[in-house]
């Protein structure tokens, strides 16, 4: 097995024990990228059309080969000199192109930032570097993270799912999930505002951890919804998610919302057994609600039985290990998650998007303009894609005094009710006393590219099982739990109370261990075998 297919915790161990060098590991990863990734995403480039384009992953917007080689050489030097190279020494990772890295592009998948070079690094990136990880590139995403399929990026071709390249990766951290699934870096840093780490993790068969709001600093993250955004890792194993969270979590003087809460030893927490833990299942998460575009009505249906069965089977394994499974846990406000998200995320996004003006940095129109206002209008009209435009217009509609119908306040109250739902089930003195909730991550497996994109309502409903977590601020961890009949990965998420990441990792790790000999565990993305890997 090549080092690019090994988990981070094994790779770093091999490097530290000098069985392989960090540079050799990097070369393996770069070789994999050359084999499977195809054309790197470029602004305004042609969409995928050739045979090769249609059968490659396109996870990257930039491969930082020289940058990575310097980092890898430094790790090898530290090891040679007997220094401590860090807990993630020599592990290749990618960063969603929404994080700033000093001296490197930070495009947010948007034309408006297509020429922006960041003068500073995000806290999470600095912490990955301190831990010895090696950044091999920036990966594609929905423009400004706005979407659930990664198709809205201005950087074409958009990412394709390594399990079936005719399907989407999910989103918005689609490049992250695709890269990790295809062995193009063991770890990727993503962000989750309404499900953007967990959703693509489930579509691409990876682990994806959305930490508690404030557990990880947002400094250096290009903002979407400031009260919802959470940076976190996508990995192939639970141990790697724990290792990464360990490296990036904790207070940060540059982000006042980064919680002043001590960071536990996640690796130690993760290995504890799960006997006696109370894990809930909720019928509200086994239903899908969507807007029928014919009747224009909200329709509610049971979730795909294959997804339901995979999640119930996971619950069965956890019960075998001694967890108490609690059925029929009520979370009555779950169905308001998306409508509430439509309001809160849009209002926050519109405020965050007003800074892009073609004056201070980023793209400026090449057309003529008479005055400053015309410069703004032309620059923004040309350089924002459909999703940022929709979100800005909706955010203004919902918050401007002249249109105000009270939806924003209603949404903030609905948010409080969703928080109350979770507080009730996790209350140690309450009726349910749950340690965690187990649910499907997404209402479907990966859908065909082009089948939903363009219908902004249906796309948003893809986040219906993840968005309430963000409203409540609690952590969620998505793990692979099997495949559907089309050989597409199914994800399940464990949700817990504030700062319970250690407990969620423990449940996920127990499940990972008990299922390690299951048939589906040996499956690999077909794109890898096609390339002789």
């Amino acid at each position: 097995m090549k080092t690019c297919d090994l988990p981070a915790f094994i790779v770093t161990d091999l490097i530290k024990t000098k069985q392989v060098s960090a540079v050799e590991v990097l070369e393996d990863t770069l070789e994999r990228i050359r084999q499977v990734d195809g054309r790197t995403g470029q602004v305004d480039a042609l969409k995928a059309s050739s045979e090769e384009d249609l059968s490659t992953v396109h996870a990257f917007t930039l491969v930082t080969e020289d940058y990575a080689r310097k980092q890898a050489e430094n790790i090898d030097r530290l090891i040679k000199e007997g220094e401590n190279p860090g807990p993630l020494a020599g592990v290749p990772y990618t960063a969603k192109d929404i994080f700033t890295v000093k001296g490197i592009q930070a495009t947010a998948g948007s034309k408006i930032l297509s020429n922006y070079i960041s003068p500073y690094s995000a806290t999470v990136v600095e912490r990955m570097e301190e831990a010895g990880a090696v950044m091999v590139g920036k990966v594609n995403l929905d423009e400004f993270t706005y979407g659930s399929s990664s198709e809205s990026s201005a950087y074409k071709p958009v990412p394709r799912n390594p399990w079936d390249t005719s399907r989407v990766t999910g989103g918005s951290s689609g490049g992250s999930a695709a890269a990790v699934a295809a062995g193009e870096g063991a770890i990727s840093l993503g962000t989750d505002t309404g499900g953007s780490i967990r959703h693509p993790a489930s579509f691409c068969g990876t682990v994806g951890l959305k930490p508690t709001y404030g557990r990880v600093s947002r400094y250096g993250l290009i903002a979407f919804g400031s009260s919802l955004d959470c940076p976190g890792p996508l990995t192939r194993t639970v141990t790697d998610a724990a290792l990464t969270l360990q490296a990036i979590a904790g207070p940060d003087p540059r982000d006042n919302t980064a919680a002043a809460v001590a960071v536990p030893d996640y690796l130690e927490e993760m290995e504890k057994d799960i006997r006696g833990l109370r894990i809930g299942l909720s019928e509200e998460f086994f239903r899908v609600t969507y807007f029928d575009s014919e009747s224009m009505e909200l329709v509610e249906n049971p979730i795909d039985p294959q997804i339901r069965d995979a999640v119930l089977s996971a619950a069965g394994f956890l019960a075998q290990l001694g967890a108490d499974i609690v059925m029929d846990v009520p979370l009555p406000h779950t169905k308001y998650g998306v409508p509430t998200y439509f309001v809160i995320s849009r209002v926050e996004a519109s405020s965050n998007l007003l800074r892009y003006d073609g004056v201070k940095y980023g793209y400026r129109t090449e057309k003529s303009f008479a005055d400053l206002r015309e410069l703004y209008r032309k620059t923004r009209g040309e350089a924002f894609g459909v999703e940022p435009k929709l979100r800005m217009l909706m955010g203004i509609y919902l918050s401007a005094a002249q249109f105000d119908k009270g939806y924003y306040e209603l949404a903030l109250k609905a948010r409080a009710l969703m928080r109350q739902d979770f507080d009730t089930i996790f209350d140690p003195k309450g009726k349910y006393k749950l340690d965690a909730l187990l649910t499907p991550t997404a209402p479907s497996t990966a859908f065909p590219i082009g089948s939903v994109y363009g219908d902004s309502v249906l796309m948003q409903y893809s986040d219906q099982l993840t968005a309430t977590t963000n409203h409540a601020g609690i952590p969620g961890l998505s793990i692979p739990v099997g495949f559907d009949r089309d050989n597409l990965p199914i994800g399940a998420q464990v949700l817990g109370s504030d700062y319970s990441e250690g407990l969620l990792l423990r449940i996920a790790r127990a499940y990972e261990k008990v299922t390690e000999n299951e048939d589906w565990r040996v499956k690999r993305p077909p794109i890898l075998s096609k390339n002789g890997n």
Binding site: P119, Y120, F291, Y361, V457
Partner: protein
């Protein structure tokens, strides 16, 4: 069914958002916004207890998790030139902007 967001509303929104939009794109965006409003209107059916407060954050910030206020000090960014170099037009250390139009506010 009447649209919540009329063409006139949309025009005003595009102006507030500083977006110049071709007519076909404007019509597509307006249609999507009105579809989204159908979902948002669902919020009107939530039974809301008048006691429930509006939550600006899911997670509460209190003495258990809040960072102490930072000391108030100024720091010279070491990357001044790299930051200024990002501006599309510069002259003698100043960012150049075109004429700023003035209009009477109602």
């Amino acid at each position: 069914m009447t649209d919540k967001i009329s063409p006139e509303d949309f025009e005003r929104l595009a102006e507030l958002a500083s977006l110049e939009l071709p007519a076909d794109e404007a019509e597509y965006l307006r249609k999507e916004l009105n579809n989204q409003m159908l979902s948002i209107e669902v919020l009107e059916s939530i039974p809301i207890d008048t006691e429930i407060g509006a939550a600006a954050h899911g997670i509460a910030y209190n003495e258990r998790n809040s960072a102490n206020p930072r000391e108030d000090f100024s720091l010279q960014d070491p990357n001044r030139d790299a930051i200024l170099k990002q501006a599309p037009e510069m002259e003698d250390g100043y960012i150049v902007v075109p004429d700023i139009s003035h209009e009477e506010l109602d």
